[in-house]
């Protein structure tokens, strides 16, 4: 932090006024630039997901005589998955507080809990996918199922990548301590993890809860 705050004034000049932000007072500190850049990436990721959501909504009724969402989805499984991801988002928030306090033990514990809840989520999702394929409802069965596996599978791939990232963050905090660049990476990771939960809110609400409504109640 200290190196960021110290922007040396040009030789012989007066000290710059303490007015920063909105472009005044020179370029923003690196923490802001890193966070903002990653925020833009996340928004583009959300836009990618929105096109998968649109594809699912458009193709929802094209079951090609195959099984429908109402016959396939198990809402209890979805509820447990939702709980796991919500808990892991919460423990990720706790981890960012522990990082703020420079507390190695709580950082590692909170990140471990985040990882275990995430692992439980992805295990349940893979189990659901395997059981769907075993019942002959794989992605090649109908346009509806193709769009379902693309949307939900893409979210699952993101969670899996997030778990790998989480592991590297734990190792880096352990090996390198709370160095500034490691904390910047962790800020990006926590943004990523919270954003994935926001996507999941859309998935469990629209794909699972609205998707399994009786057909006559659908818009």
């Amino acid at each position: 932090m200290s190196t960021e705050a110290l922007r040396a004034p040009p030789a012989g000049a007066h000290a710059p006024p303490l007015v920063t932000g909105h472009g005044a007072g020179g370029p923003a500190p690196k923490r802001i630039i890193v966070g903002y850049g990653f925020w833009i990436f996340l928004l583009s990721d959300v836009i990618m997901f929105s096109s998968f959501f649109a594809a699912y909504a458009v193709l929802f009724k094209n079951t090609a005589g195959g099984p429908t969402a109402q016959q396939l989805f198990d809402l209890q499984n979805t509820a447990v998955e939702t709980g796991c991801l919500l808990a892991s988002t919460f423990t990720c928030g706790m981890a960012s507080l522990a990082v703020g306090e420079r507390n190695q033990k709580w950082t590692q514990l909170a990140l471990l809990a985040t990882g275990l809840f995430g692992l439980a989520f992805i295990t349940l999702e893979v189990r659901e996918f395997v059981s769907l394929v075993a019942r002959g409802a794989g992605p090649s069965r109908s346009a509806f199922l193709s769009s379902f596996f693309t949307l939900v599978g893409c979210h699952g791939v993101h969670v899996t990548a997030g778990l790998l990232w989480l592991g590297t963050m734990m190792a880096q905090f352990y090996a390198k301590g709370f160095r500034q660049d490691v904390r910047h990476r962790f800020l990006c990771f926590s943004l990523f993890w919270h954003a994935l939960d926001i996507i999941w809110v859309g998935i469990f609400s629209l794909v699972y809860l609205v998707g399994t409504l009786p057909p006559e109640l659908l818009p």
Partner: protein, 135 residues
Amino acid sequence: MSGGHDFDAGSSVGEDRAPGAESAGEHTLGGEVRSYVLGLALAVGLTAASFWVRGTDLVYGPGLAMALLVLAVAQMGIHLIFFLHITTDPDNENNVLALAFGVLIVCLIVFGSLWVMQHLNHNMAPMQELMQMQR
């Protein structure tokens, strides 16, 4: 440099905030934990409400889909405020503007696709007739 803020005299003087970062004001650890717990409680409440609305017959049937959509948007808002710390503070302006643009594109893609495809489906001849015509 003096008067550099004339163009937006109403906004605060200070650094912008990185998305996901806490506001720069005074914070106690206990207060921050409480804020996360409140966020979790609200998120769990809205999730439970979604599943309850799906199962109940107290809600007018054709309105169920819209009710679930509203609950989902509300929960996304809770996540943004309590977990991603996207707020309406002046130091958060850049993050909110980027988010607003993202939401605009998302709405264009989702509602635009649904709108166009619905009209296409409506105007297309039934598949049987189409195949007859091609013979």
